[in-house]
């Protein structure tokens, strides 16, 4: 008995040791009684649920906030008191929520709530979430999926980004520079937190930062790209007009080391132009940068094929300028400003993308300030070209309008070539005919000559022993010869 009780002190029932799920393996109190496998499953489920809940919560908050805004606007006079109380309650709930997550989100959220008070009176701007297009939805889903692989850190990051977006929602009336500042602060903050607290290795931090940038910038894009408060649009139009006015600039004037006569090279040039134009269609700064990088690689290829040596900056920049002039990419200044303001700075500062972006900035600056001297032209020539009086292209006997699109130009060129080819073929045909005639004439001529000669000197073939016979034939002078001596008989 005593033995039994003694044993009881340390005795644990077999069933208690087993996994709570009843899978037959032993459980562990550290895993809440599950075995390692079941625990992982349970934990994973719980975590996903948590993320889902967070997401829903954020959505709900957004909706409530909107309702609150809408009602505060419409309820100026008539709305019932109870409703505003209700609204107050919600606001309280919201601010409470804000404070609990505040430690994840320091300075910006504080400013945000202050701004919220100011904004309360203003007309509500449409919610970020309300107007989600299909793309933003897709990006959100991808983002959540991506973060799931990062366990607790992912969850925390999600909370932070959500809070940031909410804060940005209130900051929409601030100047774009301030909004950019907030975004840059946020990037820095999140990256640092991941490294110092999450102990995430630098390469992964970079990956996560890319995803965060993608997520927040897809959402913020329409509010911060070419905002009305800035003169970005004016600058866009200015540079567009400027590039159009410079249509006459030739590769030779810029000393572009690219020979477009080579089909491969002109192919690369076309690709580069396509890439730089495509930049405008992207929403995320990083994707825009990727377009610039792709464009640059095509330029390098074009230079490599032409010069057969690696391109230096001396080759690259003029070519990029030429590509920009030829492509006239839409909203060039807005795109540059947007990237500068909202791209993750670590990418812009030292990376390869940053280098190409800097070169694009240089190209734009050069085009803006371009003058006669920078093209090695005389001032008079430059002025004449600028005013459109003459065009250097005209002298090259290309009399089709210079602003015709590339395909048309190519077509004209091809037509030109074809007609030239036609001409040449005709010439060849003529020559061939002439040659044929010459040949016939020649044979005829020869035949005639031969005939003449033959006629002139007829060939008479005499019997072969005629001359021999002649010896024996009647000699004309035979008569003059004395008669042959006759034998005489003498009587003697």
């Amino acid at each position: 008995m005593s033995l039994k009780s003694e044993r009881r002190g340390i005795h644990v029932d077999q069933s208690e040791l087993l996994c709570k799920k009843g899978c037959g393996y032993y459980g562990n109190p550290a895993w809440q009684g599950f075995c390692s496998k079941c625990w992982r499953e349970e934990y994973h489920k719980a975590r996903q649920k948590q993320i889902q809940e967070d997401w829903e919560l954020a959505e709900r908050l957004q909706r409530e906030e909107e309702e609150a805004f809408a009602s505060s606007q419409s309820s100026q006079g008539a709305q019932s008191l109870t409703f505003s109380k209700f609204e107050e309650k919600k606001t309280n709930e919201k601010t409470r929520k804000v404070t609990t997550v505040k430690k994840f989100f320091s300075a910006s959220s504080r400013v945000g709530s202050k701004k919220a008070e100011i904004q309360e009176t203003k007309a509500p701007s449409p919610s970020i979430n309300r107007q989600t297009s299909i793309e933003t939805d897709r990006v959100s889903k991808e983002f959540i999926e991506f973060l799931k692989t990062f366990h607790k850190t992912g969850q925390e990051i999600y909370k932070q980004t959500k809070m940031f977006l909410e804060a940005m929602h209130y900051k929409r009336d601030l100047s774009i520079e301030e909004q950019s500042e907030c975004t840059q602060d946020f990037y820095q903050n999140v990256a640092e937190r991941m490294q110092t607290r999450g102990k995430v290795p630098p390469e992964r931090v970079e990956k996560i930062m890319d995803q965060i940038e993608k997520y927040i910038m897809t959402r913020l894009y329409k509010y911060v790209f070419c905002p009305e408060t800035t003169d970005d649009e004016k600058k866009d139009l200015a540079i567009q007009k400027r590039i159009r006015a410079l249509h006459w600039v030739t590769p030779q004037m810029l000393c572009v080391p690219v020979n477009e006569e080579i089909p491969e090279v002109s192919d690369m040039v076309v690709k580069a132009i396509t890439d730089i134009i495509e930049m405008d269609s992207k929403r995320v700064p990083r994707d825009k940068l990727a377009c610039i990088t792709k464009c640059s690689k095509h330029i390098f290829n074009a230079i490599k094929i032409t010069k057969n040596e690696p391109a230096s900056a001396d080759d690259f920049l003029p070519t990029l300028i030429y590509i920009v002039l030829k492509g006239n990419p839409p909203r060039l200044q807005s795109n540059i400003q947007y990237i500068t303001r909202f791209c993750n700075p670590s990418r812009l500062m030292t990376g390869e993308d940053g280098y190409y972006f800097t070169n694009l900035c240089c190209a734009v600056a050069f085009i803006e300030k371009l003058d006669a001297q920078s093209l090695n032209l005389s001032q008079e020539d430059f002025d004449r070209y600028m005013s459109g009086q003459t065009s250097p292209r005209k002298q090259e006997s290309e009399n089709w309008s210079p602003d015709a699109c590339l395909g048309v130009k190519q077509m004209y060129k091809n037509l030109d070539l074809l007609s030239q080819l036609n001409e040449r073929q005709e010439r060849i045909m003529n020559e061939a005919k002439k040659l044929e005639k010459d040949l016939i004439d020649w044979t005829d001529g020869i035949a005639k000559e031969v005939q003449d000669i033959v006629e002139k000197y007829p060939l008479e073939i005499k019997p072969p022993n005629q001359s021999l016979a002649a010896i024996d034939s009647e000699n004309v002078e035979n008569d003059k010869l004395p008669p042959p001596l006759q034998p005489q008989v003498y009587a003697g």
Partner: protein, 243 residues
């Protein structure tokens, strides 16, 4: 305490990232210099390198990891005005001239350098708001300047006197080096020395900004943002580092 920890963190865990701009006239051999350094190639007939305008190199100097990004700049005179766009954020600048070409030295020295220096002055004298913004871009660094006389394999045809070049370099606070990309002379030394100087500058910067920042690049932001919660801590850090 905080400052020391930050410096240690940079040395042990994080690699330094340095941007170096390469300046110089057309045919002074900038391209050969970087290609020799990064890929050990010189006038290679079977070139696999696509471009020599942006190259990177990873180094380990006394246990400190360094990621070097070398930015070539267009040397033609018509592009000189664009310089400041390239210099932004750079930790170092290498000014290359050809020892057989007096012009390449004169232009280098007078135009580009004065440009660089006025740029630095401008960024300091601009009004505070702009200055802070500029600082974010510049990250408060001093540019380490190198003046490089290339093509010393053509010593016989030297047209720029060593003394003149060296005294000039000293007058603008730069260091002078002699290199030959053809014979692979002095190039390793040039970059190694430059990296050491940039590390030093970065460490001085870190210490100067110090107070709790843990990242060379993030100093300003770090201070600004963190003051939300560990207010007392950052005060303590300041105390510690001063004492």
């Amino acid at each position: 305490m905080a400052a020391g920890g930050g410096g240690g963190g940079a040395a042990a865990g994080r690699a330094y990232s340095f941007k170096v701009v390469l300046l110089g006239e057309g045919c002074v051999g900038k391209t050969s210099l970087v290609l020799r350094y990064c890929e050990n190639k010189f006038n290679d007939k079977h070139i696999t390198t696509l471009q020599a305008s942006f190259l990177t190199k990873k180094l380990n100097i006394g246990g400190k990891r360094v990621n070097l990004a070398i930015w070539d700049t267009a040397g033609q005179e018509r592009f000189h005005a664009l310089g400041p766009i390239y210099y932004r954020d750079s930790n170092g600048a290498i000014l290359v001239y050809d020892i057989t070409d007096e012009d390449s030295f004169q232009k280098e020295g007078v135009e580009v350098l004065s440009h660089l220096i006025t740029y630095r002055l401008n960024s300091v004298t601009k009004n505070v708001k702009n200055w802070v913004k500029e600082l974010r871009k510049m990250l408060g660094n001093e540019i380490c300047l190198c003046i490089v006389g290339n093509k010393i394999d053509l010593e016989k045809e030297r047209h720029v006197s060593i003394q003149e070049a060296e005294s000039y370099a000293e007058s603008v606070g730069a260091k002078h080096y002699h290199t030959s990309a053809k014979q692979n002379k002095g190039i390793e030394e040039l970059f190694l020395d430059l990296c050491k100087r940039m590390i030093e500058t970065a460490q001085v910067d870190e210490r100067a900004k110090g107070n709790g920042s843990s990242q060379p690049g993030a100093a300003r932001r770090g201070v600004q943002i963190i003051d939300d919660e560990p207010q007392a801590q950052s005060g303590g850090g300041g105390c510690c580092s001063s004492g």
